[in-house]
Each structure stands twice: as C-alpha cells, then as structure tokens.
Amino acid sequence: MAIFVYTNAQRPQRFWADLFSRLDPLLMASASLAGRALVSGIALAGITLLLTLLFGRVWCGWLCPLGTLLEWLGPRQARRRAPSETWRAIKYLLLFAILLAALLGSQTLIVLDPITILNRTLTTAIWPALRYAVVQTETFFYQFPALWGPLDAIHGTVVQPLFQEVQPVFSLGVLVALLFAGLVVLNWWAERFWCRYLCPLGGLLGLLSKLSLVRREVSDQCALCARCTHQCPTGTIDPRDNYRSDPAECIVCFDCMTDCTREGVAFRWQVRPANRWRPARWRDYDPTRRQALAVLGASAAGVALAGIEPITQREPATMVRPPGALLVDFSALCIRCGACVRVCPTQGLQPSLFEGGVQNFLTPRLVSRLGYCSFSCNACGQVCPTGAIPPLALEEKQATPIGLASIDQDRCLPWAHNIPCIVCEEACPVADKAIQLEEVEAMNALGETVLLQRPSVVKELCIGCGICEYQCPMGGESAVRVYAPTEAGGFLGALPEGI
C-alpha cells in the first residue's frame, strides 16, 4: 500500500507510476484482447498469475492497494448480517462481461478494475481536494505578513514539492469520491464487501485459485471453536464444512491463524500430495452456466449498443487526445487508469464523461481551457501502461499534432472589437509560430484609429497544444479553440518537409 501511495502521490513520479497497473492481470488481459496485441510489460502481470496459481489470492490479501485501503476503512466486525452467499457470483459474472467485451474490442467495462478505481479516485478526487484544503489554509494564514517567514519555510519544504503549482480541477471529482465512499460504506454491510462480492480482478484470481497448489487445509485437531470464522474478512470459513475455506474466496491473509486456539495444528497452508490434488470444487454460490451465458449475452448486447453512439460515424470535435494517441487504436488500448491524468503537469488531461460516447467513458482528453499540453513535456506517453499513449521522444511529440486551433472572429478582441491583443501568438511555442498576424488599421469603439494585429492560425504548423486557448484573455469560451483533428489525410497540421 505504501508503494502505491508513493507512486501516486508525486505527480511527476514516472518510474514506478504504472507498476500496479502492470501487475494487474485483468488490466493487461483486457488491453491485450481489445488492442489485439500483447501489451508490453505484460510479464509483470504474469508474476501475479503465477503467484495466484501457486498460493491463491495473495494479491488480494497482501498486494492489492484497494483491498488494503478497504481493510483499513471499515469496522473490524460488520454489524449487519452479510448478504446472501450467492452474491459472490457477481464478481465472476462481471469478470466474464469484461473479458467478452474486451474480446469484442471494447474496454468500456474495465473501469470496474480495482487498480483503475483507486488510481482514478486518488487522481481526480482525493489528491486535488487535499491540495485545495491545504492551499486554502495556507492562503488564509498568508493574510498576515508577520507569518510569512515560517509560512514560506513550510511552503518551500512541504507544500510546493508535494502539491506543485497547479490546482487540479475535475468535474467528475465529486462523483468519483462519492462512488469510492460508497465502496467504503459497503464494508459496514459485510467486511471487504467489494473484494468478496464485486471485484472482477478478485473473480479472475479466485477462479485461478481453484487450481492453486498451496491451500488452507483443516486437520482433525481443530477445536471447533469458530474463532477463525469470525476473523475471516471474506467470510469463507464455513462451520458446516468443518471450518474449511473455499480457495477461490480465501485471500490468504492469515488472519485466521492469529487467534486460533490450536495454532499450527488445527490447520495450515500446505501442498497436497500430487496424487491427491484436484481443483477446488464448484460451490453453490459460484456462477451457473445460465448466469454466465446471460451475462455474456448482456455484455455483447452492450457492445452492440455502444455501436449506436454517434462517435462511430462522426468524430466529435471535443475529443482531443494526448499526443501520439492518434497513432494507435486508442480506445481499445486505454485501460482508463488515469496515470496520464495524474502526471500531466498542467492537469489539462481530463477523464471524459460521454463526449465520446459510452465507449469512451473515463478515457482521457485534453481540455485546453483548463490546461494546455506543455511543450517541454512528454510524460503521459512515459507512464501509459499499455502504450495507448505511445512513448514519444520529446522532439517527436513536439511535431505530433493533436488538434487544430481555430479563431472565433466574432469573439477575438482584434477581430470583433478592434482592441489589440495577440496573446495567443505570443504563447504559441512552435518556433515558426503557428499563428500569423495581419496588420490592419481600424476604428475602435471610442472612435480612435488603431493599428491592430489580427491573428489567424497556420494549419500546417499548429500542433493543437492549446496554450493559445488557455492564455486567451476572453473569459468563458476562449476566442481561440483547439478542436480534435477530424480531417482525413494530409489536411492535418504537420510540419512541412525540411523543418
């Protein structure tokens, strides 16, 4: 858990940033299926799979950061009666739905993966809100100049390095926080509710754990005291079954061992001799064939419904993707993990709502009005675990268009109001400016003749970074806006040969 917080906390942190996403076999499988290519780094997920085949759901018990967080946030003993055991099937059914959708090329459902949930919650809700609270408090105290000495020291050593200069803003932040709070609150209904009943990754690892080598075996030395039953976070120790547990539900946390009155004797983890090993039996609560088929059908139907979204026919203008994303089948490879959103230095990358249809829910897009694509940065491609945003070298990224700026002459100060400006041209980072200026003399509203510079975009040079839209002094809708490149062929802004 500590590693996860570390990798998520520091925004510029790249080296470890996608570690947990790569370890997650559900993410890697889904991306590889939908993207029709083995995602690089998939070997790490193989380690998790191997661990599971050997020892069972150790990921859930020891590695999963969401599991750890849910374990900490919740009562030790749930007070209500837990839901019916048949609910355990939900996680398997969700798993089937996700995998079939991925097979059919859609990763829409991968937003249910626990790593993406935690990543998203930290990136779009918890961390920004924490920063906001800290900075507002700091600002309050900065009203008193006498305090500036110590405040500056705190700011320089703690606030600035941790939180950087940009306040992230996300319209989905409240929703994401509420959903996460909902997951936590469910712990009061049953301990580790998500892990037990809902988590599709738990479902995947659970199925594999039915084949695990090392299992919890109960001996006849058991005192039948039922202490372990009450300790078990997933409630899988069954008094009616001689206090045995289902390896698919057991998260190998060893909590049952700590209070056992016959510790070390009543049960232990061991390998059954080869001639006595067989897969764990299918339980009553495990999905039936009918349930599985129904869910698969629903998943396929969902993918079909997604095909009705207008994006399958017309590119929407607002889906400006991170640099390089246009070079790959982005929606099929993106696991909606939010790593790119987290590292973007201007926090301009935002998880989409439905601008690109349901099939692009929570995929990143650049909202230039909130944050431009920084010319000196290529972080998003460095952290993307699946290569949905390919890792471009900086010079390559600086020559890769992500959109085209467009000046609204009914809003732009020199065009519509004969007032000087050209902040957009000033900000344009391309060496041969992608905004050119035309000098005209005009009369302003006061009747004075003024010499104006009127901007227009040079299509061949514009890379769509959006700093023009960001810096434009017009409030609300900027007078220069970046739209997604929607023209086919050579109309895309691209550097002419030789530059």
Binding site: H155, Q164, E165, S374, F375, P420, E426, P429, A431, P473
Partner: protein, 275 residues
C-alpha cells in the same frame, strides 16, 4: 538609493566575450554594486524566465551567467539574502528555472530560487497609473530592499521589443489581460514597481520571432550588458542594438512621458567599456 559618486556614469555599457566580466564592468561603470546594495539588504533579482522549453542559447530567457554574477556581487556587498524569481507564462516555475540554466547558476552562486507563491500576490494600487489603477502584484518584489531587474533584450511581436519595462510583467498575475492597452499598462506597471537597478542582458539578442523564439538563426551574439538605475534609459540604449530608438517603442515613450526616466541618450553620461 544613494547619489552616485560624481565620476560614476548614468548608464554603463560593457562588451566582451565573458558574460561574467562584462556584467561586473557595466556595474562598475555606474558606481559598483555598493551603490545599490547595502549590508543586510534583502535583494530580489528578477530575470526573464518566461517559458520552460527554451535553453538560454535561444535568447528568449536571461543569460544564467549574468544572473549568477549579480547574485555573487550582491552577496559580496553584504546582502542578507538574494532571491531570484519569475512567473513563466508557459510551463511550471520549477521546469522553467531548470531549463533556463538559471537555477543551477544561482544555486552555485549562493542565491535562492523562489517559486512565486500565489498566496503572496495582492491587488495593489497603482497611484500614478493612467490606464490601470490596480493590479495583483507579488508583494515580496515591492517589499524587498533592492530589486534588480535583469531582462533579456529581444524582439517581441506585440511590443516590438521586450526590455526592462516589459520584463516587469513577470511579477504580476494575469499578464494576458494587459494586452488591450499593453504599452500604457506596461508604463503604469513600471511606475509602481520601480526597480532599483536595471541590467539588460544583451549577450544574445533574439532579433525576430520573439518573445519565445526557437530558431537559433534569429539569435545574434551581441556580447553586451547595459546597466543603469534608470530603466527607461537602459531600455532606450538596448533599443539601439536593434537599430531602433526609444521613441519608436511605444511603452518606452509612455514611460518617459510619465517621467519614469529619460529617452535622451545624448543628455546623459554613458560609459562604454570593452572587456
């Protein structure tokens, strides 16, 4: 500030291949750093670090050696601390400070880089302002004992040249809202901030496509540093490096009309040295 010793020039210009040497020489010509910095002073050096994607060879940001030399000189004169800062309009302060080379140079010289904290900007009255009467300004810059303005002389598509007065736009918030009447507002800003000393870095001058540049072919190696207490005069001299006069730069004319300095280079004592 103290009146200059009678033999000190009004404006100093030094030329030569070594930025450190010419910075020192330009200052010496106008009476040395001791004229401006007293023991125990809190000094702020304000270079141009406007973007985070150009290294200093592109002439868009101030030469790090010039900045570091000023830091050393101030510390040598007994300054309590020397802080260096700017608010870039592209990129974060930290990446801009690093890319410009100024962070490394300043730290080696014993100064501190300060990231300008949003909380220390305040809406400040501009009593002499003709177009703008108030603007959010970084309070540290107004409170410091000594403010040394270190612009880089360069072409600018909106104002024709970016020099000392223009450089002051780095100490305010929402600079993008000045452009509706940019020249007068720059002069208004200058009337408020009034740096103690202006040192114009003309070691490399960006001759076209400013303020962000990007073509090394547009950069001319001028190997010059200009120093004066009078920001308008320093800028007027710098304009001559672009074959322009101060009168032709509207923000300079506006500043001169407001009495913030002199454009008449013929009427002041200028000392030019070659190092």
């Amino acid at each position: 500030m103290a009146t200059p010793p009678s033999e000190a020039a009004y404006l100093g210009v030094a030329r030569g291949p070594d930025p450190k040497a010419i910075t020192g020489a330009a200052l010496a010509a106008i009476g040395g750093i001791e004229r401006f910095v007293k023991s125990g002073d809190d000094v702020i050096v304000k270079p141009n670090i406007c973007v985070d994607y150009r290294t200093y060879e592109y002439g868009a940001t101030t030469n790090p050696e010039v900045v570091a030399t000023l830091v050393e000189l101030c510390l040598g004169a007994g300054a309590r601390r020397v802080r260096v800062m700017d608010l870039p309009f592209a990129g974060s302060s930290e990446t801009a400070y690093a890319r410009s080379g100024i962070a490394d140079a300043v730290q080696a010289a014993g100064g501190e880089m300060e990231v300008m904290n949003q909380a220390k900007f305040r809406e400040t009255q501009i009593p002499d302002g003709q177009d703008i009467k108030s603007w959010p300004v970084y309070q540290e810059v107004l409170n410091a004992n000594v403010l040394i303005n270190v612009p880089t002389a360069k072409d600018h598509n909106a104002t024709r040249l970016s020099l000392g007065c223009k450089n002051l736009m780095g100490v305010i918030l929402k600079p993008n809202q000045l452009h509706a009447n940019l020249h007068q507002r720059i002069a208004d800003l200058t009337s408020l901030v009034r740096p103690t000393l202006t040192v114009v870095d003309a070691v490399r001058t960006l001759m076209a496509h400013g303020p962000t540049g990007g073509n090394l072919g547009d950069v001319r190696l001028n190997e010059t540093v200009i120093a004066s207490h009078d920001i308008v005069a320093a800028d007027a001299y710098a304009a001559t490096l672009f074959d322009l006069t101060g009168e032709e730069i509207p923000f300079l004319k506006a500043a001169a009309d407001m009495g913030l300095g002199t454009l008449d280079l013929g009427s002041i004592k200028i000392e030019e040295v070659v190092v």
